[in-house]
Structures are given as structure tokens and as C-alpha cells.
């Protein structure tokens, strides 16, 4: 399929950065994150409210594995660091460094999910299932929804990592790694609050 003549495509396009020189991708991601803040915020608010209503759920909360949670927090914080390094590498035009950092991010994300799955199995074996009580219903819903978001981030990062091997796609990677990074950091920020909420309260 032949592309439209370049001058016609350029002439037909109308991009005005006068109000703010923010790339469209960045504005779009932040609006998306705003809606995600409301999703997680709403669920977290419900959890906090129910917890207050039911006297704190200290007995139930004693069964969470805070050491595993802490380890997972370490993993996710480090993955944020590697993701930030990947973004910096993209700006510095360093494809090799980006690929290493992106791969580390993916591996750390997979580690997080693997540890979480193991943790779920430990809890399920003790009969602590989503239907065994409201604390556990919230626990599984909150961490489950978060894990789904982590998985989505891993998939995106993985595809970017694959694409980064082709130099023809490098400009696209440079643009998009920033957006993937914003999403990934957001997922990390959610966990930064989920961890004390679920494990340290």
C-alpha cells in the first residue's frame, strides 16, 4: 500500500503545541492514569472503610506474610529503578543499555508475580480463600487487580524489548518507553500504598 505523498500528509496534519509542549502520548497516559487512580483509590477506600467498620481485622491480618510482601516491595521498587534507567538510556540513544534494563524490569516483574502466586498458594492451603472472609476477599481483590496490572505492564515491556532489537523501530521505542515507564511507575506507586495497607496494618 503506497503511503500518501509526504507533503500531503504533513500538510493535512495540524499539530499545535502552543498551549503546552507536551507530546500527545504523555497527556494520554496521564489521563489514563487519572482514571486508574480512581479505580484503585475507590477499592482502597472501600477496604479502609470496611476495616474500620469491622474493628481493624487484626486477627485476620496476622496471617499475611509480611516478609514475602516486603521482599516483593523490594523487587518492585528495584524494577522501577531499572525502568527509569531504561527510559534514561532511550533518551541517551543507548539501545544496548535500554535492552538490558528493560529485560531486568521484565524479569523483576515476573519475579514479583511468581512470588505472589506462591504466596497465594500458601494462603489457600491454609484455607484463606477469597470466600473465607471479607478481609481475605479484599486482600485477593486488591492484590489480584494489582497483579493483573503488573502482568499487563510486563507484556508491554516485553514487546518493547523485542522491538528494541530492530534498529528501524528505535525512534518508536524512544517515544513509547516513556509511556510504558509512566505506567510501570504508577503500578509501583499503587503497591507502595498497598503494601503497608495490607501487610503492615
Amino acid at each position: 500500500m503506497e503511503a500518501a505523498p509526504a507533503h500531503q500528509v504533513e500538510a493535512a496534519l495540524a499539530i499545535d503545541d502552543s498551549i503546552q509542549a507536551i507530546p500527545v502520548g504523555r497527556i494520554a497516559i496521564w489521563w489514563f492514569l487519572a482514571s486508574e487512580i480512581m479505580v484503585f483509590g475507590g477499592l482502597i477506600a472501600c477496604f479502609v472503610l470496611f476495616r474500620l467498620a469491622h474493628g481493624g481485622w487484626d486477627a485476620e491480618a496476622a496471617h499475611v506474610h509480611w516478609q514475602i510482601g516486603a521482599f516483593n516491595t523490594l523487587v518492585l521498587l528495584t524494577s522501577s529503578y531499572t525502568m527509569a534507567m531504561a527510559c534514561t538510556a532511550a533518551k541517551a540513544d543507548d539501545a544496548a543499555r535500554l535492552r538490558i534494563c528493560l529485560l531486568l524490569t521484565v524479569l523483576l516483574g515476573l519475579t514479583f508475580l511468581g512470588v505472589k502466586a506462591h504466596e497465594y498458594s500458601l494462603e489457600a492451603a491454609k484455607g484463606l480463600t477469597p470466600w473465607s472472609g471479607l478481609f481475605w476477599a479484599f486482600y485477593y481483590t486488591l492484590t489480584g487487580l494489582h497483579s493483573v496490572h503488573v502482568l499487563a505492564g510486563i507484556v508491554v515491556n516485553f514487546f518493547l524489548w523485542i522491538a528494541a532489537r530492530r534498529s528501524s523501530l528505535w525512534p518508536m521505542i524512544q517515544r513509547r518507553i516513556e509511556y510504558a515507564g509512566l505506567y510501570w511507575h504508577f503500578v509501583d506507586v499503587v503497591w507502595i500504598f498497598l503494601f503497608p495497607l495490607v501487610y503492615l496494618s
Binding site: V9, A12, I27, W31, S35, I37, V39, G42, P130
Partner: protein
């Protein structure tokens, strides 16, 4: 990414003719085609919604008879009908028509862009929406039937599968809504980004047409309010499927939480559809009175204020729910307050008309009819917003009449106004004026005739969502009003045939439309009808605000936004 890059990456061939049938009409990334897809789905769903309305109204007028074209219905089936009517009309007619169709079609054209910021995301959004619609319609045919817990789906009726026969239907309802939410989240991001970042040179925010402002405000409102309900819907599904107890008192849950989460979104949702409806009216009224819109900036501030306020009024739906009575006063106060920006909008519309040279083509008739009807509906909302009167009126037909008197004007009056107005631009043909006027008068009077009686029936205490209110001797004296409303409803629904006929016949036999049949200023009228794939041959250079009508000393009574400035006679743009 830039539009240039997006177009290049999708291998766009430049003129559309080179694309095959599937890429051009089905899996299109062109915002105009996507808008028409949303339009088609919404109009089809409107027919389904009208069918449910017909069945409901027949049952209310002539209970326990066989409904022609439907059959005999049971109380459970009645509940399903009521549920599906509300769900379809709000989520699968109003949203796709006002946001999906008009937002997608008008925003890029009005800001002078070649397409949305993210054309492929746009396509994903319409296909997600279509899938949601399919899931909802499929739920009508599964064992147990469609969801029957009301469009509000209150717990524990909706949370405990043992309480209803529509087990699978309720699950599918949740999934359909989730898909619809995802679709409009994607669309909302697209609208906001396009309007903020992809405007033509010279199109400052204060030169954007009001429809664009109102569409993006509605999109932002949707984005901000739907989140807690998404969490809530996940919890509802888990209650049903996994046996968690978020909303089930027996398991320590709280049904009231669902009401809060639902209405936290549900109330802003009605403004999400009302704002674009108002935006459409605000585009049409100046054009057909040849006068600038009155108080342009105030109208924008009102939209923003109404948006912010709408996020803190939700519990006025819950005055009798058993919630903490101390919440009643603050929410009454905010609810009464929100009538202020809307009143200003209505006054601004009237002031726009005042002293204008009005002509009454079909778009103008529908805009005026919508304004008048919404005014009545809005005023009746005051009784419901104040806790004291709401305690009596909650759950009666007064509420039903109120929300139909607000939602129907913004969805259908404004929607039809927009369709008759932009049809020439969308399809390159003019619609038939006489059929249009017939459609308007039948719809306008038919609508009043259905819902005025319902106000009366409601004030007398008739409860809504009840299979057979006439079964209570208390309400038997009101039955003539119910019958009158049903006859009017049948006339109203039948009258839409005029529109359907006009729509399809004009496609083939309508007069060829010129670029600017309405002599309007906004940018979409500067290009061909219908516009080429890239909308404009060159990016328009915007020189003024959109409402330069009847400027003293000007050559003509309209001045397109991108027309070169005339010497010394152009009134200073805002």
C-alpha cells in the same frame, strides 16, 4: 506520538479508495467512519430500547394482556424489561450517540485536525463497545433471561445469585458494562488529548467551539467518576461468582456500599450525557438565530463548575436508602447548588436567541424543543434534590418523569438536532425538511403526552418498577392517565419511522449538500460534504472565535473561523 507518525505507521494510503472494504468500512481508523459506526449501533439499540419501552407501557396500561409483538409477560420479565430499557438507553444509546458519534465526528473537524490523536485506539474503542452491546443483547436469550435488578443493580438482589433466576444474565450485564466503560475510557482519553494537543494553528482554547469544550468536559467527568464503580463491579462479580461477601450482610458486607459506588458514578454519568447534548444545542442555536452565543466564557466555566459539583451530589439518590441521615443536608445543598450552572446555561441559550433572526429548520426546532423540555425536567429536579420532598417522591413515577424529561431532551431532542444539522456534512446529502418537521412535531407532542401524566401519577404516589400498580386500589383512579401515556408512547415510537425513512431515503435521494448549507462558522463547514479522509486539504489557519454572526459592518452575517480577516470590521475575538 504525532499524527504524521500515526498515519505513516498505519500505512494509510492517502485517499481511502485504495483501502479494501474491510479496512475502509469495518476496521476503519477514520474518526468519521468510527462516528458513523457508533451512530449505527446507538440507533439500532434505540430501537431495542423503544421495544422494551413499548412492552413496559403496554403492561402498565393493559395489565396481564398479551402484548402484541411481545407476548404475555411475567413480573420477572417485566423487571428484566425495565432493567434492559434503562441499561440500553443510558449506556448503549445516549453514550454512543452523544459521545461516540458526535464527539468522534465533530471534535477533529472542529479543531482543524486530520483525525483523532490515536486513530487505532479509536477503532479499538468502537469494537470494544460493539462487543459490549453484543454481550448485553445476548443476555436476553440465555437461560434465566436478562438481568432483572434494575439498571442500578442494587445489592443484595444483584449480589446473591440465589435471589434471581437471571443468574447468567446478571453476570453478562456486568461484563457488558465493563466493556462499555473500557470503550469510553479509551474514547475519553482520545477526545481529551486531541482537543488539548491537536488543534489547528490559531485555534486557542478560547476559540474552540462549545461542543468541543462540552465533549471533553464530559469525557473528563466520565474518566474521573467511573473508577470506583469499576472496582465495585469487580466486587459485585466476585460476590456472584466466587462467593465473597462485599455486599452481602450475611457475610459481613454492606449493600449500601454498592449504592454509594454506583451513584458516585451514576450521577456524574447523567451529566456526561447532558453536557454534549447541551453542546449540540449551543452550536445550533447561534447558527439559526444568526447571533453570537451569549456568554461564551461563562458557559465554559459553567460546564467546569457543573462537572466539579456533579462529583459531590450523588447521595441525593439515596435519601431513603437508610444511609446516615446527617449526609442528607450536605448532599441536598450541593444538589440545589448544581442547578445554578445549569440555569445559567439555559439563560445563556435564551439570551442567545433574544433579538436574533430566527429560522426554524428542523435542527433548530429540535434544539428549541430540547431546551424547553429540559427546562421543565430540570425544575422538577429541585423537588428531588431536596431531601424533605424527595422522601415522598423517591421511587415514584415523579422520578421517572423527571429523568425522562432531562435525559430524553439531551439524548433525543439534542441528538436529533445534531443529526439533522450534521447529516449534510456526514453524508453529503440534505435531509427532507417536511419529513423532519413532521418528525419533530410528533416527537415533541408525543413526548410531552407520555411524561406529563407520569408526573401526576407519581405525585399521587404510584411506585416505579412495579409490575401492576393498578392492582393496588389506591392507584386505580389513575389508570386513565397510564392508558393515555401508553397511547402517547405508541404514537411517539411510531413517529420515529419518519426519521428512519428520512435518514435512509435521503442517503440515496437527498439533494447534494454544499459545503456550508447552514452558513455556519465552525471549521467543519469549511471543507467538503462529506469531508475527505484527511478532513482538510491543508491545516486551516484559525483567525477568530466560532460565533462571529451578524457582526456590524461585515460583508455577510457569518464569518468562518478560518476566513481571512476583513479590514477594520471584525469585532475583537474573545
Amino acid at each position: 506520538m504525532s499524527q504524521a507518525a500515526a498515519l505513516k505507521e498505519t500505512g494509510y494510503a492517502g485517499h481511502g479508495e485504495a483501502l479494501g472494504f474491510w479496512r475502509k468500512y469495518v476496521f476503519s481508523i477514520d474518526h468519521k467512519t468510527i462516528a458513523k459506526q457508533y451512530l449505527g449501533i446507538s440507533l439500532f439499540m434505540a430501537l431495542v430500547g423503544a421495544y422494551t419501552a413499548y412492552a413496559i407501557r403496554w403492561q402498565l396500561a393493559w395489565p396481564l394482556t398479551r402484548i402484541p409483538g411481545v407476548g404475555a409477560i411475567s413480573p420477572d420479565a417485566y423487571n428484566s424489561l425495565v432493567t434492559m430499557h434503562g441499561t440500553i438507553m443510558v449506556f448503549f444509546v445516549a453514550m454512543p450517540l452523544l459521545l461516540g458519534a458526535f464527539g468522534n465526528f465533530c471534535i477533529p473537524l472542529m479543531v482543524g485536525a486530520a483525525d483523532m490523536a490515536f486513530p487505532r485506539l479509536n477503532m479499538l474503542s468502537v469494537w470494544t463497545f460493539f462487543t459490549g452491546g453484543l454481550v448485553l443483547l445476548a443476555s436476553l436469550f440465555v437461560p434465566g433471561g436478562a438481568a432483572a435488578a434494575g439498571w442500578t443493580s442494587y445489592a443484595p438482589l444483584s449480589a446473591n445469585p440465589a435471589y434471581t433466576t437471571a443468574v447468567l444474565g446478571q453476570d453478562m450485564w456486568i461484563v457488558a458494562l465493563a466493556l462499555e466503560f473500557a470503550s469510553f475510557l479509551m474514547g475519553g482519553v482520545n477526545f481529551l488529548t486531541t482537543a488539548l494537543n491537536v488543534r489547528a494553528p490559531g485555534m486557542s482554547l478560547w476559540r474552540m467551539p462549545l461542543l468541543v469544550w462540552y465533549e471533553i468536559t464530559a469525557s473528563a467527568l466520565f474518566l474521573l467518576s467511573v473508577g470506583p464503580l469499576i472496582g465495585g463491579a469487580v466486587m459485585l462479580l466476585l460476590d456472584r461468582v466466587l462467593g465473597t461477601g462485599f455486599y452481602l450482610p450475611a457475610k459481613g458486607g454492606d449493600p449500601l456500599l454498592w449504592e454509594h459506588l454506583f451513584w458516585f458514578f451514576g450521577h456524574p454519568e447523567v451529566y456526561v450525557v447532558a453536557l454534549p447534548g447541551f453542546g449540540i444545542m449551543l452550536e445550533i442555536l447561534p447558527v439559526f438565530s444568526r447571533k453570537p452565543v451569549f456568554a461564551y466564557r461563562a458557559l465554559i466555566y459553567c460546564a467546569l463548575t457543573a462537572t466539579a459539583l456533579s462529583l459531590i451530589v450523588w447521595a441525593h439518590h439515596m435519601f431513603v436508602s437508610g444511609m446516615d441521615p446527617r449526609l442528607a443536608t450536605p448532599f441536598s445543598v450541593t444538589t440545589i447548588l448544581i442547578s445554578v450552572p445549569f440555569a445559567i446555561m439555559v439563560f445563556a441559550m435564551i439570551a442567545t436567541l433574544w433579538g436574533g433572526s430566527m429560522t426554524f429548520e428542523t435542527p433548530m426546532l429540535f434544539a428549541l424543543g430540547g431546551l424547553a423540555s429540559f427546562l421543565l425536567g430540570g425544575v422538577t429536579g429541585i423537588f428531588l434534590g431536596s431531601a424533605a420532598t424527595d422522601i415522598y417522591l423517591h421511587g415514584t413515577y415523579f422520578v421517572v418523569a423527571h429523568f425522562h424529561y432531562t435525559l430524553f431532551p439531551v439524548t433525543f431532542f439534542a441528538g436529533f438536532a445534531g443529526l439533522y444539522y450534521w447529516y449534510p456534512k456526514m453524508f453529503g446529502r440534505m435531509m427532507n425538511e417536511r419529513l423532519g418537521k413532521l418528525h419533530f412535531w410528533l416527537t415533541f407532542f408525543g413526548f410531552q403526552a407520555v411524561f406529563i401524566p407520569l408526573f401526576l401519577v407519581g405525585v399521587a404516589g404510584t411506585p416505579r418498577r412495579v409490575f401492576m400498580p393498578v392492582g393496588y386500589p389506591l392507584f386505580s383512579a389513575l389508570q386513565p392517565l397510564q392508558v393515555f401515556a401508553t397511547v402517547a408512547a405508541i404514537v411517539l415510537i411510531a413517529a420515529q419511522a419518519a426519521f428512519v425513512a428520512n435518514f435512509f431515503l435521503s442517503l440515496k435521494y437527498g439533494k447534494q449538500a454544499q459545503r456550508n448549507p447552514w452558513r455556519a462558522n465552525t471549521l467543519e463547514w469549511s471543507t467538503d460534504s462529506p469531508p475527505p479522509h484527511e478532513n482538510f486539504p491543508a491545516p486551516p489557519q484559525v483567525r477568530r472565535w466560532p460565533y462571529e454572526y451578524s457582526t456590524p459592518g461585515a460583508r455577510r452575517d457569518w464569518m468562518p473561523q478560518d476566513e481571512a480577516a476583513e479590514a477594520a470590521t471584525v469585532r475583537a475575538a474573545s
